[in-house]
């Protein structure tokens, strides 16, 4: 559940600033968080394959973060295109995965799940081809 984690960071930072002013907002956040987590676990139970997708998502985010951290650590971006393609491949695959996840949960009219999966595969292949080409 990568989207959740990464955005939750944002929410927390903004919350810290306003914490003292109003305690009620903090409560609201907690409430929302609790409820959505619950519905999320429900969905996981309902669609077992969703777990696979979400673990892949999380994996991508972790790799992306590691790459970025490494960049910050060595303070040099010399083979910039290599880094960039590595990073973009994570972000891109993540976005594609979320797109597929949406279609998996509630398919768009005219596009059955199987076709959505096929299209997802094609798009990922293209993405990987371009990134490999870019990485040299």
């Amino acid at each position: 559940m990568a989207a959740n984690t990464s955005s939750a960071n944002f929410i927390k930072t903004s919350t810290n600033a306003t914490n003292k002013k109003s305690n009620s907002i903090w409560n609201d956040f907690q409430d929302v968080y609790r409820v959505s987590m619950k519905s999320y676990w429900d969905a996981l139970d309902k669609y077992p394959k969703l777990k696979l997708i979400d673990i892949f998502c999380l994996f991508l985010v972790i790799i992306g973060v590691i790459q970025f951290a490494f960049l910050c650590l060595i303070r040099d971006n010399f083979p910039f295109n290599a880094f960039l393609s590595g990073f973009i491949i994570c972000v891109g695959q993540f976005a594609l995965l979320i797109s597929f996840r949406m279609q998996y949960l509630n398919p768009f009219p005219g596009i059955p799940k199987n076709r959505a999966f096929g299209e997802f595969i094609v798009a990922s292949l293209i993405l990987h081809f371009i990134c490999l080409h870019f990485i040299n």
Partner: protein, 762 residues
């Protein structure tokens, strides 16, 4: 009245056949109307930039793609050279050479020149098809067919896509339409496959034209508008993120674009919308799962609060980041061309070279009518009609038209991107109109009823129907008449205004036959045939590509205006007196100087008319040496006759243009310059001492001068002395002179190469 199943299939087949027929006609019309240029003139590359594209394509067909991308062109921008492979958009050349290769493989060994000449017409027929698909998605196939017919013959598009106009725009508009077509499809269906199509077309577009930035901003803007309108849907998320990810990473494969998509501010909006969309999607996810489990309204209010709060926080953070990145220089500064889009005066004040290009001038109002005829007033009607329905794809067309209308008002060449949306919007209006007014179904029904049961229908009904019929007839008749006029206008404009190759000028012989004024090619061919292959030709940058393409000689500056200083240097030389100019040209190793002079023929686009720009551009770099004011007469006018200032008369541009010209009509009478309508007297034009005329074309339009050689001691041999030598001596001294100057040149070249390196690094 109901049809049987069999009848229905027949009707369907007839409709399909008709559609196909109309499509074929549209394609034929779009190609054939662009062939006026070939029929009236010949199969030749037009204007300026196409000559460079043609030269590059020829190189690509001769060498490998890899060599092409690593092409360092030492025959332009002498002595700097140009890293051509990395600074061009290779899409056009690659496509043309691909077509050429395929044709050769299948047994049609056509000349590469003909491929290039016919390139634009072929792709314009593809544009018509893409427009048909796009407009069909906006309204229905009737609209699509109308839009395709419009785009096929509308002069605004033909102006840049006639046969021979082998320019980036020729393919770019096709790709623009294809990208939009796929984009609309994917917005409608949410299919990743369509989005892949959109991003591949976008990639192709990036490889073909610098105007891809338009798409880069338009699509995010469309998504942004949809978000603001509260129309977020999963389809939008899918199509936008897929398009953005694939398109961006693909566009970075083009060497000239490189890392721009993550550095330049022009691309930031796309990135921003990508981030925003993630947040919105996440918010939407939360909202959905929240509302699924909680049904009391109170907690919904809580949710809203949370949403607003986190949204604000994220916005502030994003803006801070953007400012920080720009401040730290991570993002490239906004380019000059971009500023001139927003502020028309920006260029004039800051960058004269951008303002000097005629393409970058704002559009004159009549041009809108000239280029699109009656579509221009149907266009707002169409946009209004779209407002009334306002589906997602309609928002796109509205956004497109609003943005483009503004940009087209700023820059002439963006008229080109406006034209397709004008066609689409007005075809929406027109098809709406025809849907109601060309519908004579009632009448048929009435007749049928009338014949079978005349007794039943009352007199009043007939009258009503008659007036209804009449009004329908008048409206549809008048619009069909407009269409007829439109077609007529388009043909006329195409034939008369847009088919001239501008390398050749049409004229008439006294007996009314068409004759060609072919001075440009005459002079370029003379250069090609009768000068040393390594000669350097100094001319104003407008003619750089043509000299490279037709004369095949090294130029100092050309239409790829990447180095303003170098251009200013040539401008300065042209504006200087003879001695100074000789020094400058000699330092640059120039052998020949070419000036364009239209005074005899009345050709307005000559160098004396562009002279002010040369002065301005060089004044921008050397304000102490060149002063625009000193070229104006005491009354503040731009004069070339006796009242011209001495500085003007001393400039080599003046001397070279008018050399010998006053004597053309007799010894003392002087000659009238037909462009500026001023009398040039023999005493106004000083003798040339350090240059001598080597060629002048038939109508004096191109004049080529050669620098006199220096003798061994570095003094200039006076031309008169040079003339009087006997044959034998002459030969000897020439040989020595050439050798001596070669030696010096080599030395100078070494100095220059040092200079290059430093300049390039900067």
């Amino acid at each position: 009245m109901s049809l049987s199943v069999k009848e229905k299939t027949v009707v369907n087949w007839v409709l399909r056949a008709l559609k196909l027929l109309i499509c074929i006609f549209v394609v034929v019309a779009s190609i054939s109307s662009r062939l006026f240029a070939v029929v009236k003139f010949e199969s030749i590359i037009h204007e300026f930039d196409p000559w460079f594209n043609f030269r590059a394509t020829k190189l690509l067909t001769e060498t490998s793609f890899y060599n092409f991308l690593n092409w360092f062109d030492s025959r332009t921008w002498y002595p700097l050279g140009r890293v051509t492979g990395g600074t061009l958009y290779p899409g056009l050349m690659t496509t043309a050479s691909l077509i050429w290769n395929i044709l050769h493989k299948i047994g049609i060994p056509i000349d590469i020149r003909n491929v290039c000449v016919l390139f634009a017409p072929i792709f314009s027929s593809l544009t018509a098809w893409a427009t048909y698909k796009l407009a069909s998605d906006i309204k229905d196939t009737r609209t699509g067919l109308l839009a395709a017919a419009f785009i096929a013959i509308v002069p605004g598009y033909i102006s840049r896509s006639v046969a021979g106009s082998y320019d980036n725009e020729a393919i770019a508009i096709t790709l623009l339409m294809l990208t939009f077509m796929f984009w609309i499809k994917s917005i409608k269906t949410g299919s990743i496959l369509h989005t892949i199509g959109a991003s591949l077309c976008y990639f192709y577009m990036v490889s073909a034209w610098g105007g891809y930035v338009f798409i880069t901003n338009l699509i995010p803007f469309h998504v942004f508008c949809l978000l603001l309108m509260g129309r977020y849907s999963n389809q939008i998320y899918v199509s936008y993120t897929t398009w953005f990810v694939l398109g961006t990473v693909a566009s970075m494969q083009i060497p000239f674009v490189g890392f721009l998509p993550i550095r330049s501010n022009d691309h930031m909006s796309a990135l921003g919308i990508f981030g925003l969309l993630q947040i919105v999607a996440f918010g939407n996810f939360i909202k959905k799962s929240y509302s699924q489990n909680n049904n009391n309204s109170n907690s919904n209010g809580n949710l809203k609060k949370v949403m607003v709060f986190s949204f604000l926080a994220v916005c502030i953070l994003g803006i801070l980041l953007l400012i920080l990145a720009t401040y730290l220089g991570l993002i490239a500064p906004w380019t000059g061309r971009f500023y001139s889009l927003w502020d028309t005066n920006y260029a004039k004040i800051h960058i004269p070279i951008i303002a000097s290009v005629s393409e970058h001038q704002p559009v004159a109002w009549p041009a809108f009518f000239f280029d699109t005829h009656f579509l221009i007033w149907l266009f707002p009607v169409g946009v209004t009609l779209l407002f009334s329905e306002l589906k997602n794809e309609h928002v796109f067309i509205i956004v497109y038209s609003v943005l483009c209308s503004y940009f087209a008002g700023v820059m002439v060449r963006l008229m080109l991107t406006l034209t397709p949306v004008i066609c689409i919007a007005s075809s929406v209006a027109l098809s709406q109109l025809f849907d109601t007014y060309l519908n004579f179904y009632d009448l048929f029904k009435f007749w049928q009823n009338g014949s079978s049961s005349r007794q039943n229908s009352t007199n009043k009904d007939t009258k009503l129907n008659f007036f209804k019929f009449l009004s329908k007839l008048i409206v549809s008749g008048s619009f069909i008449f407009y269409l007829y006029i439109f077609v007529y206008h388009c043909t006329w404009v195409t034939q008369n205004a847009y088919s001239s190759p501008s390398v050749v000028l049409p004229s008439q012989t006294p007996d009314g036959k068409m004759a060609l004024i072919d001075d440009f090619r005459e002079a370029y061919y003379w250069l090609r045939m009768n000068t040393d292959e390594d000669s350097k030709v100094a001319a104003w940058w407008d003619y750089g590509y043509q000299i490279g393409g037709m004369a095949d000689r090294t130029t100092l500056v050309d239409n790829n205006t990447w180095n303003n200083t170098h251009i200013a240097l040539v401008g300065k030389a042209m504006a200087s007196n003879e001695d100074r100019a000789y020094e400058i040209f000699n330092e640059l190793d120039v052998d020949y100087v070419l000036v364009v002079f239209g005074g005899l023929l009345g050709f307005g686009g000559d160098d004396l008319n562009k002279f002010l720009w040369m002065i301005r551009i060089s004044e921008g770099i050397w304000p102490d040496e060149v002063n625009e004011r000193s070229f104006f007469s005491t009354t503040g006018e731009y004069r070339v006759d006796s009242s011209a200032t001495q500085v003007m008369k001393d400039s080599i541009m003046y001397k070279m243009s008018y050399h010998n010209f006053p004597y053309l009509y007799g010894e003392n009478s002087g000659g009238v310059d037909h462009v500026r309508q001023q009398l040039i007297k023999p005493e106004d034009v000083g003798d040339l001492k350090r240059f001598h005329e080597v060629f002048t074309s038939e109508n004096w339009m191109i004049r080529i001068y050669k620098l006199n050689e220096r003798d061994n001691e570095g003094r200039d041999s006076e031309f008169s002395v040079f003339k009087n030598k006997s044959v034998a001596n002459d030969n000897n001294s020439n040989v020595e002179g050439v050798d001596g100057s070669r030696r010096r040149r080599r030395r100078r070249r070494q100095q220059y190469s040092l200079l290059d390196a430093s300049e390039l690094r900067i």
